[in-house]
Symmetry: C2
Subunit: 342 residues, 2 copies
């Protein structure tokens, strides 16, 4: 079994080494073929290792850095002023071939800007995209949606490239042989949508290598009848935040409802396990790990607020993308759209 | 008190006269200054009136038509082939000045196409928009969002016009003196977003008559800190459907959770009133009535599946827009953007 070496930005996210060190140990215990490099402040990482009675080993190395990119730092400032940050160095290790992927829970904008600057896009790919999983009505079934905010004003050619990359990610992470790919639109009819979406539909219909199933809307995609949903990054980011905000609104209303009186508080205790199960089933941390695709290297972004089990799932996603050799797979796709159709 | 006369498309929606006739009676009972015209199939409307022991009167008239636009009919087919449909005639009555507004629960695409074709846009307004209310975390507080799908590829000038119209609707329907208007974006920073949104922000910052408060994201808008959210129709339609789909997903997961065992079914009975209250608070029917703004006449679209109380709220929204003279208010706004900024 080939060894997979992943660099972890140990300082990223809301909790830094206190979450990322235990997550690293969990991931190592689960996968004998995995090695990790903790990139970050030596003292803090050593202190966390000591706290959990662990030590460095050939499978768990440390790469000391002196800077940290903060959660609210501008991408430009991070890129210019933080060349020895844990985030930058983790990506540099991928560039140098010293690691096969980087995982970070840091600032998304800075991570994307750094990944793009250091790694560059793959030949034939104009723009990298962010792809993540969303829960659906079907228990255990997620859909993968891209782009979630790396790009605005995506052209039909970009949407076409996203579709190909999304299909490969769905295959690699969800083990789906021929993922059903849909284009996000505001109706099902051919006349609906903007010019980019209509033109992208033509490209995708012409591409027999993909299992393109047509348009889908933002509510019906949650039924789980498709595997990959493709959209512009502005639209995808709005949709993702609307989904999260709406779920939080409903859960907040429930919590408020249960706090109304002593009777409702008592009744809430009786349904606590059901409510916890629902929260767990819909928890974005279950599918933690947004992948940056289209770059010459694999970068996975964890939620900033991820706990150790959740962060270890982001490591697991990176491991799968490495073992499936996603980067090579994307490079081998005929992603350049024939100009006849344009 | 001036009389308000509203034409109702009695055949529209999933239930037609069986919902719209009782809704009309409810609205008439609530507002002494209101008169209604039921537009549709004479026999069916008379049968419904008989069923609820009501009769036509000077305040409740009937305008017989012979055609119905179906829920899945294409806008072009409706426009071309259904000139004596209840939908078309209700809008014709507004055009002729025989009614001051039209309310329909029919096919949104056909309704917008017909309204646009018959009524035309107001001077200074390039495109009509669809505006509707969304619930927020603050009990009883809604936000008004536009455009929800009348337009795709809105320019900064369109977004600027939507902002002005949205502010007037919020003032008319929610009685807010100086509504806080925000632009939907994928971040708060000035560098975020597409070119249209960035340019629209400049226009809105320059317009002192509006209370423009900056960018907002699709999750934080649900906190209820703003009154009007402005976006392109493609983005708004996706956001609306994502919000609805996500809320349904959570409620479905709850229902499934409570059906798991006899114990969970029994516990569900104890919390039923709380769950019903949450469903009621978040029910889109509470704020039923999406308004088409920017046209030379008022048209309100009810949810297709609305019940009678919900449809009567759509009538109420139309009545408020008539009494506040929204159309004249929009015409009087200096909506044409100074070319200096372009």
């Amino acid at each position: 079994m080939a060894n997979t070496l992943i660099a972890l930005d140990a300082m990223g996210g809301d909790f830094g080494p206190s979450v990322i060190v235990p997550a690293a140990l969990q991931a190592l215990a689960a996968h004998a073929d995995l090695s990790l490099v903790l990139v970050g402040d030596e003292q803090q990482i050593q202190a966390e290792l000591t706290a959990v009675h662990a030590t460095l080993s050939p499978r768990l190395q440390l790469h000391a850095t002196t800077q940290v990119v903060s959660m609210d730092e501008s991408p430009a400032a991070a890129l210019r002023g933080k060349k020895d940050s844990s985030m930058r160095v983790a990506i540099d290790l991928v560039k140098q071939g010293a690691a096969q992927a980087a995982v970070s829970a840091g600032n998304t904008g800075a991570l994307m800007a750094t990944a793009r600057f250091v790694l560059k896009t793959l030949p034939g790919i104009d723009r990298p995209a962010i792809i993540a999983a969303l829960p659906t009505r079907v228990p255990g079934k997620c859909i993968r949606m891209l782009d979630l905010g790396a790009n605005v004003d995506s052209t039909a050619v970009h949407l076409h490239q996203f579709a190909i990359m999304g299909s490969l990610v769905s295959h690699a992470l969800d083990k789906i042989t021929k993922p059903r790919v849909a284009l996000l639109n505001i109706g099902h009819e051919d006349i609906k949508g903007n010019e980019q979406v209509k033109l992208a539909a033509k490209y995708l219909e012409a591409q027999t290598a993909l299992h393109y199933v047509g348009f889908i809307e933002a509510d019906t995609m949650l039924l789980g009848d498709v595997d990959v949903v493709v959209c512009d990054g502005f639209v995808g980011n709005v949709a993702l935040k609307a989904l999260e905000g709406s779920a939080r609104l409903v859960l907040h209303a429930l919590r408020t409802g249960f706090m109304r009186s002593l009777w409702t508080k008592l009744s809430a205790l009786l349904v606590k396990s059901t409510l916890n199960r629902v929260r767990h089933d819909l928890d974005p941390g279950r599918y933690n790990g947004a992948c940056f695709v289209g770059l010459q290297g694999i970068v996975v972004k964890s939620h900033g607020g991820a706990d150790a089990p959740s962060f270890s799932r982001a490591i697991e996603a990176a491991r799968l993308l490495v073992t499936q050799d996603l980067t090579a797979q994307i490079s081998q796709q005929p992603v350049v759209v024939s100009t006849e159709l344009i």
